[in-house]
């Protein structure tokens, strides 16, 4: 289906002098899209040409629109010889393909040449006219929105979180083609840039198709990576989380999208279509028009085949109330419902054996063996028998089974690339799961069938999934994948956090309970459902709540810490205690996760960046032998990294890690491991014990002395750190009265753990299954070194904090000043006879010095926090280590911080709420649970109305509102399944007509456009941040994904200031090009910015260097909160009703 791409070349400025004789340039421009090329006239003798061209029009179909970049080449006309290229601009027109994003790309773009860098600028205007109506448009994946952000984007609400999407495409690397021998470096670089641009376009389109298949409309947490496999090819792969998103303010151009298909919807025979009255009147509120608004007529066939995919992840749990209230009904209903799923996956799991080659690693255990978790599963399964399946019977049961089955077949990986979740989404967190695999690269013979690569990843994912199962979790969140390649060896890694999720988000329901409301309009279904619901879930919820004695007052900040696995059959030896917060559920002694700290988590004190660094020498070897030696080393590295992390965590007096990222990098003769995470003290977990040092030769007096000296040092460090990070947890939990008394066994253990720190070592040893965490045995010099290295981590200078998560735990009063930066260092490990120890030390120093230099550089921003500190390590050559860091420094208000410190708990509560209000505009909306007394929601009554509709006995409702609503939800959930059955049978899908008024459209538009135009006077400022938000600002619009790949090469390295000068200029150029693209889209910031790749190669002898950089992020428009307030009523008024509309009508 065609679209018309229109391009206008307006002018150029600051062009380089191409004609030495006249010191001027005769420039013209070639505009190329696909196979069509247009040219402007030559603008003679000027460095600031004004072409003011006509509109060049390309008529292309949408596949091309998605795959191809617009390619603009600026050339110098030469009458006698070939025209000289000045440089190029590649413009990704994807943001123009969905109506919600940008409508026009217009602005100054740096003209980029891979040899010379930026050479002047060109002003271009690009528009796309799509001929198709939006309904047809949906058949392509054009309309699917992509976000790098690993949380639900701020101005959207998640209607459904469908799940994992992945894809990879492979091709030959132009750099390694035979033709590369005869073409210029420039031509080769450009071929590569263009190919990667094409491949990422294709990849995005394919992922988009998968998302549409799942009936989502967006990919969140989209992460695209390149594997430069050298001779064997080029792999572009991406993972993401498919979602159905709903714009919060209905100001966007999304409306027509909803309106147009609505006509068609009427033609669709909807048996379950609600009668108009109920529909419009009440439930109204969170009614999701957009949920299915784009159900395209054509994709019905697809839906019928895959409609159960949606459900695939869902039928695991009983729905529980949303928001903070989710914590009132922990695990038990979840578990019982989970069972069918688990059972299936158990089967699946047994099929996939874990290769010994891979080292598997589950935190908080080290080197978990393939645990026998069958028992646990059986247990769960039996629980299930008593639950839904047993009593349900009939269609429901079969349906459920069908769905789970198909879920496993079709959605084999319940993974989520998100790291931050709507409140209530995360029920329990099990721990980190990771898997690695060493592979030998071979030439990809048929690029169209990248089966091997697919199979490799599938294998790893399978392993991850089985680990998660072992932890009693049905999902993996904060999931990511990475590779490290050296010559022909490749380490594939995947990691994530095993978790139990609230299924409401996974199915076609929202937090707002639109689902049940929608369902409740159909009395027929409802009555059945309600009965079942009562039978199946009600008692359970009652049980659990009475059992746990959870009331409204119970703080929600600890639910996610509670163990999801079975206490009696723990997948690994962990040390459980009762939650120090609610005293009702078991929690582990430490918690490692790859996700961000949940907003609702109760934290004591501040967090800090914790890194484990490790080098391991490896013999140089070829092929198989090499791969084997690497895979033999991996488990030891994992173990050591883990031990380091654990020790450093304890040294800081903390008990949980968030945002854990372990990177293993392979080089010619060594392996490097770098783990970064943010340590925090979770109030729900027990206070960590200290670190004990034990000597092997206790009789030696001086040795003893030495040991005790070290012990003292360690104890001092812990004390100092506690002070530094303000870790002063509330009184010991034993003293808390009024909470259920822990069972004796547990209690004794608690006590013991307390005494441990002061007691003798040997005893400690016995009492713990994990002495590695507590006791450091010094039996040789190596161990001594390890202990020393523990103490070498210097805390950041005063006024600085650092973390690798989005928000710094314990700091909430950010000021708007931010500074994003990238720092790259390459160091030579110049040891003649390197040993692991010296290498470790070198590597450690390298990282510490880098951090130190960052603190120094940013000293003017104090007090500030380095957030999202992201280290990447590469081993480009023998003895060369490259470390790249991208992070953002954010200043904060010290005074407020001090205030907050006085009441840590209070503060963290406060933070949760302020976060909701200030940054997470979206969760706020989410929080507008119909039941909670949000002032603006007429929803409460509505729901009451709805629930009365549902026929739940009034008496029941009277007992407790939550209660009834819970039942209500359960009912509706069952109904949903029934409904699904109907839907599937009919091959049609449920839609709702749009209730929004179209009026805010124009208004909203004006508002959006006016924001950037205000700053247009000179060069508009574009903020960049690796975070998903901007402090003190509100993101009003997402303009599309920025995904750029650049190559820069030089043959005059010395003249360009050596390697540092070269790379410095290149990184600055990359920033400039990203900013220019964002500004041209009408944006003023990039959020979730990430430098995914920075491959630097040099050949000083030839005076040459080459660098490849791949960056991505989300272009957004933001408005300062202060501006929002200051601006007179107009915008505020505009914002208000739209917000309200978003809430009421969506």
């Amino acid at each position: 289906m065609p679209g018309k791409l229109k391009v206008k070349i307006v002018a150029g400025r600051h062009l380089p002098v191409m004609d030495r004789a006249s010191d001027l340039t005769d420039a013209f421009v070639e505009v190329k899209f696909g196979n069509t090329t247009f040219k402007t006239d030559v603008y003679p003798k000027s460095l600031n040409p004004q072409w003011n061209s006509e509109w060049f029009k390309f008529e292309v179909d949408d596949e091309e629109l998605q795959d191809e970049p617009l390619q603009i080449t600026v050339l110098d006309h030469d009458t006698y010889s070939a025209n000289d290229a000045i440089g190029k601009v590649y413009i990704d027109i994807d943001p123009l393909l969905y109506s919600e994003a940008a409508t026009v790309i217009s602005g100054w773009f740096p003209i980029y040449d891979t040899i010379h860098g930026i050479r002047g600028e060109i002003n271009v205007v690009v528009k796309v006219d799509l001929f198709n109506d939006l309904n047809r448009f949906r058949q392509s994946s054009c309309g699917v929105k992509f976000f790098c952000t690993t949380s639900i984007p701020k101005c959207y609400r998640a209607v459904v979180i469908h799940g994992f999407v992945e894809e990879l495409v492979v091709n030959e690397d132009p750099e390694y083609q035979w033709i590369d021998r005869i073409r210029t470096p420039r031509a080769s670089n450009e071929a590569r840039q263009r190919l990667i641009s094409l491949m990422s376009g294709e990849l995005q389109r394919k992922i988009g198709l998968k998302v549409l298949e799942m009936r989502g409309n967006a990919v969140v947490g989209y992460l695209q990576c390149f594997d430069l496999e050298g001779e064997s090819g080029l792999v572009v792969r991406a993972i993401g989380t498919a979602c159905t998103l709903d714009k919060l303010s209905n100001t966007s151009a999304f409306l027509p999208a909803c309106n147009s298909p609505s006509k068609e919807m009427k033609e669709i025979p909807f048996n379950e279509d609600p009668n108009p009255n109920t529909y419009s009147s009440g439930p109204s509120t969170p009614l999701k028009n957009q949920t299915y608004s784009f159900s395209p007529s054509k994709s019905y066939s697809r839906q019928s085949s895959s409609s159960d995919t949606d459900l695939s992840l869902t039928p695991k749990t009983a729905p529980s109330p949303q928001g903070p209230r989710i914590f009132l009904f922990p695990s038990s209903p979840t578990l019982s419902c989970d069972s069918p799923h688990l059972k299936k996956s158990c089967l699946l799991l047994s099929g996939s054996s874990i290769k010994p080659l891979h080292s598997s690693h589950v935190s908080p255990v080290v080197l978990r063996k393939s645990v026998s978790f069958t028992e646990e599963l059986l247990l769960a399964a039996s629980g299930m028998g008593s639950g839904s399946a047993g009593k349900e019977g009939g269609p429901f049961k079969t349906l459920l089974r069908q769905q789970t089955q198909s879920a496993l077949e079709q959605r084999e990986f319940p993974f989520f690339t998100l790291t931050t979740f709507p409140p209530g989404f995360l029920v329990h967190v099990g721990g980190v799961v990771s898997a690695r695999s060493v592979k030998l690269l071979d030439r990809i013979h048929n690029p169209d069938e990248p089966e091997t690569r697919d199979a490799w990843w599938a294998e790893i994912r399978q392993e991850i999934k089985s680990h998660a199962k072992a932890l009693g979790c049905h999902a993996v969140v904060g999931y990511s994948e990475s590779t490290s390649i050296c010559e022909e060896v490749c380490i594939l890694s995947a990691s994530g956090t095993a978790a139990v999720l609230n299924p409401r988000f996974l199915q076609d329901g929202t937090m707002e309970g639109c689902l049940e409301q929608r369902l409740s309009w159909q009395p027929g279904f409802f009555s059945i459902g309600s009965e079942k619901g009562e039978v199946d879930f009600f008692p359970q919820s009652q049980d659990s709540s009475s059992l746990l004695g959870i009331e409204e007052a119970s703080p929600p900040g600890c639910g996610f810490c509670h163990i999801p696995y079975d206490e009696l059959n723990m997948p690994f030896p962990a040390h459980l205690t009762y939650c120090y917060n609610c005293r009702k559920q078991k929690v582990p002694d430490v918690l490692f996760t790859t996700i961000d700290l949940p907003v609702e988590a109760i934290v004591v004190g501040k967090g800090c960046l914790i890194q484990a660094r490790l080098c391991r020498l490896k013999k140089k070897a070829q092929a198989e032998a090499n791969a084997t030696s690497i895979s033999n080393l991996l488990p030891f590295m994992e173990y050591e990294v883990h031990t380091q992390l654990m020790n450093k965590l304890k040294l800081r007096g903390m008990n949980a890690l968030f945002g854990l990222r372990i990177q293993i990098t392979v080089g010619e003769n060594m392996l490097m491991g770098l783990a970064s995470a943010t340590g925090v003290y979770l109030a729900a977990l027990p206070t960590p014990g200290g670190i004990q040092i034990a000597g092997k030769t206790p009789n030696d007096g001086t040795y003893e002395q030495h040991i005790s000296h070290m012990q003292k040092k360690i104890n001092d460090t812990i004390a100092k750190n506690k002070e530094l990070y303000e870790i002063n947890p509330p009184e010991l939990p034993e003293e808390i009265i009024g909470s259920p008394i822990p069972e004796p066994r547990q209690r004794s253990r608690l006590l013991r753990s307390q005494s441990e720190s002061s007691d003798e070592v040997t005893e400690l040893d016995l009492s713990h299954g994990k002495k590695d965490a507590f006791v450091l045995e010094i039996d040789d010099t190596d161990a001594m070194e390890d202990v020393h290295s523990l103490l070498t981590d210097v805390p950041p200078p005063s006024g600085f904090y650092s973390c690798n998560t989005e928000i710094m735990p314990g700091i909430n009063n950010w000021t708007p000043e931010i500074q994003m930066f990238t720092a790259v260092r390459v160091s030579r490990l110049s040891n003649i006879n390197p040993t692991n120890q010296t290498l470790n030390k070198n590597f450690n120093d390298l990282c510490e010095n880098l951090l130190k230099s960052l603190y120094f550089k940013l000293r003017s921003m104090v007090p500030c926090c380095l957030c999202h500190v992201n280290f990447t390590v590469a081993l480009p050559e023998d003895e060369l280590v490259q470390i790249a860091v991208t992070a953002v420094a954010i200043t904060y208000d010290k005074n407020q911080a001090l205030q907050a410190n006085k009441a840590p708990t209070e503060k963290s509560q406060q933070r949760a709420s302020t976060d909701n209000e200030e940054q997470l505009q979206f969760p706020l909306e989410l929080c507008s649970d119909p039941l909670s007394s949000q002032p603006f929601s007429p929803a409460k009554e509505v729901l009451e109305g709805a629930s009365s509709h549902t026929g739940i006995p009034a008496a029941q409702r009277a007992t407790s509102v939550d209660y009834s609503s819970f039942a209500d939800r359960c009912n509706s959930w069952i109904e949903l399944i029934k409904l699904k059955a109907q839907t599937i049978r009919r091959g049609s899908i449920k839609t709702t007509t749009s209730l929004e008024k179209a009026s805010p459209l124009a208004e909203g538009y004006l508002r959006h456009r006016s924001v950037p135009s205000g700053t247009n006077s000179t060069v508009s400022v574009v903020k960049m941040t690796p975070l998903s938000f901007l402090p003190g600002a509100k993101i009003t619009k997402y303009l599309g994904i920025i995904n750029m790949f650049f190559i820069r090469e030089t043959t005059s390295l010395r003249e360009e200031g050596g390697v540092s000068g070269f790379l410095h200029a290149f990184i600055a150029e990359v920033f400039a090009m990203v900013r220019a693209h964002v500004a041209a889209l009408g944006g003023n910031a990039v959020v979730s910015y990430i430098m995914k790749q920075c491959v630097f190669m040099e050949n000083p002898n030839k005076n040459q260097a080459q660098c490849l950089i791949n960056v991505s992020g989300d272009a957004v428009v933001f408005v300062r909160e202060s501006e929002l307030e200051v601006l007179p009523p107009q915008p505020a008024a505009a914002a208000q009703p739209t917000g309200a509309a978003g809430d009421v009508t969506t």
Binding site: Q819, N849, K852, V1019, M1024, L1063, A1065, A1068, F1071, A1076
Partner: protein, 357 residues
Amino acid sequence: MSSDLDVFVGNTTLIDEEVYRLWLDGHSVAEAVARRLRGGLLEREATSVAVLQSDTRDHYRTFQMLERLLHAPPRLLQQLLFQIPPERQALLVQRYYAFDEALARELLGKKLSKGTKKELDEVSARTGVGIRSCRRQFDNFKRVFKAVEELRGPLAENIQQLFLLPPSLARDYAAIVFFANSRFETGKRRLQFLSFGDFAACAQSMMAHWSQGALAPEAAEPDGDLPKSFLQDLKELKVLVTDKDLLDQHKSLVCSALRGKISVYNELEANFKALSRALVNVGGKLTHARDVRDFFVDLVEKVIEPCRSDKWSPGDLRLFLQHYTAAPRNLPGFRHQALWERYMAAISACLLRMFHD
């Protein structure tokens, strides 16, 4: 373990004012690090020398990349490579174009040529300004000179527009361009007591009163050149000293007006003719390039020094010049009053400014 490559790039370009100053002063990275160490930064920030070195190198690289843009400040505003807040951009430009007055004083009136640049070593030694800084400043002068040489309209405004300098700095550059253009001699020993500020003020008065732009803004000639017709016309003023009657009448008018009002009346009466001759002849000689060079020398030698030796006070000089300028209005047969006043306005301003020890 040595760092081969070490870069830090911020989305907003970090500018450290202290390092910028060191860079502008022409210090090498090593020198800059040493100076920063002496400043006690190490102790204050509890960091290491390596960190300081890395930081200094980063800043130096940034400045080197920025330098190209600083040569054409409007480009700095338009460029996309470095994101720098406007006030920082202004600071960068201002500091880059700021100059040492001692150096500027040395170079005033010299041809901004390669030859002069080669002599900068001596200038550097004399003024104590680092040689690299000298060269940079010299290049700045030359760049500004080249850029406005051919432009019409007020010099200072042109400079301000092209180089985005603050008004006072732009006026100083205008003076430098004016001097370089007219090649006034300023290096003579007897002129040594005059500072750059004195000369700049003189240049400003001369441009203000004499340039074509001062009369007609749309004038065809650049402000840096004194209008030919005006200089030609000045010859007409010679009548004041060549015509014996006029000279006598002029003297009596001035003397009668000043009698009892100035302390040096007797000396004035004695020297009036010499003074008047000097004042008028300075203008008359301006048509010849070689004589133009001696403008300030003549003023000092023939006016300021005699007055000073007679112990005139600045007030005396002011009163004298006032009446000396006004008197010809009452001279019968003198038709060049407007021209005379225009001429004398600048001369008076210059003399008053230069009349100090």
